[in-house]
Symmetry: C2
DNA sequence: CGAGATGTTGAGACATGTCAAAGCCAGTGG
DNA sequence: CCACTGGCTTTGACATGTCTCAACATCTCG
């Protein structure tokens, strides 16, 4: 608990000692807290939150085809979203860190269009979507926030569009991950990639072997230091340069 | 005008002679008309619509980096959205038919993250986004519709994710286009691909030569008949089978 | 009709995928 | 503590789909 505080303080600098404290341990904090809601609005938002988990690694948060009823904010841990086609081949759509929201792509068809699987011990906040939409009716800022979050997901989807080389993809992946870590107050250069190489490869549309080889090459070139699933970015600028076409 | 009526009737069967007629020539009709708004709500929605165009081919509707202020519904013609990186290489994100909405990906950064370029003589409806958001505050159905449309765009973004073969991509592209044509009341098997081969290739992350070759192969196999930019799907089911992994 | 854009076709190159084998670590049970 | 198992990961050798380059064909439009 107390060990987690520093990171949280970075997410929400004003969080310490203000009236929104009740939300402080929930990663959705950075979605709603900085938005200047008044106390009663926040109370209403708080009412529709349901803490779920902890899940172990490799459990489903929701499944492809399930009726869509809620979105989830990752509170701790990591989640991947992925599709499995009839042949059983998996396609990873994304990795989701604490503070990030999953499930918004289920609104359209009123069913989840993908699986969400924990990679790690994970806890989440569940937001009933109908309730949230109703509340957004009263809170313009919440509606706007939802629009922005959805818009962000649209953008993210087009990130790996384009025929990029394995080097570009992997460099962009590392930098993106590091940036997202940093935004949560964690180190911008050291991180643990909790997902398997296979998952990374799958996400980047590469073969696992290619990921292995490129990581080794990056290491040989002094761009990174890899030890199992721990990575240190030794030359973030160079990586950013390599991946710039993907990151744009 | 009257020549366009049959297609519109297909979009909105009740359109003829009802009180929503004023909106009948606008492609956004199928977004709002079937939703059961009352007359005054529709009037308000109508107020914030601004008809723009006609544009000729190859004109910008909006540009990368421009301040985001509105979304556009294609009324007639076709629009492509695309990114251009610093090296001048283009990346086509999508093609947009009448009735489809562009610009939603600009909400997040309050700037358009891509260019929107007409492929054809095109007219559009411009919806001020702030005004629309405000109205959505009063009209739950409108808010829901916006959520659904954004969610749909998120889904569409992940369509070409995955390492698909050239055959899969092209088959899926043809079927998807035909389906979208059909949904607008046009032929489900004959269509004009107004965009260039280069644009198609670019969209599908293939080389233009590959598109050429695969189209020829499909023709040799009797799946399609191509004549310049006109295409007839001779065996839609087979195409759908080939492209099923992409279409899912 | 000519010129420029657009599309097609062929030959060869190359990045990445595939397959197979071996290495490495974590956990299990003796 | 060790041997064993099973999952990942790495590495090497080879196969192949798609790209690149270049030539040519075809259409469009002044």
């Amino acid at each position: 608990m107390t060990a987690r505080k520093p990171a949280l303080r970075a997410i929400n600098p004003e969080g310490e000692g203000n009236e929104f404290e009740f939300c402080g341990t929930c990663a959705f904090a950075n979605v709603c807290l900085p938005e200047g809601y008044d106390k009663t609005s926040l109370a209403e938002l708080h009412c529709l939150i349901e803490h779920v988990g902890p899940y172990g690694a490799n459990e489903h948060v929701f499944r492809l085809g399930e009726r869509f009823g809620a979105v989830y904010a990752v509170r701790a841990g990591m989640v991947k979203t992925c599709l499995v086609d009839e042949a059983g081949r998996e396609q990873v759509l994304g990795f989701h860190l604490p503070g990030e929201l999953i499930g918004l792509n289920g609104v359209y068809a009123a069913r989840y269009p993908c699986d969400a699987i924990t990679l790690d011990t994970t806890t989440l906040c569940r937001f009933s979507f109908p309730a949230m939409a109703t509340l957004a009716q009263k809170l313009p800022r919440l509606q706007e926030q939802l629009f922005r979050l959805m818009s962000k997901d649209i953008l993210r989807g087009s990130m790996l569009a384009g025929d990029f080389s394995a080097d570009e993809r992997l460099a962009a992946f590392l930098v993106d991950m590091a940036d997202r870590h940093a935004r949560r107050g964690l180190s911008a250069v050291r991180m643990v990639l909790v997902m398997s190489r296979t998952d990374i490869a799958n996400y980047l549309r590469l073969a696992a072997e290619t990921v292995s080889r490129v990581l080794r090459k990056f290491q040989d070139e002094g761009l990174i230091a890899v030890d199992r699933r721990e990575v240190e970015l030794r030359d973030p600028d160079a990586l950013r340069r390599i991946g710039r076409a993907v990151l744009r």
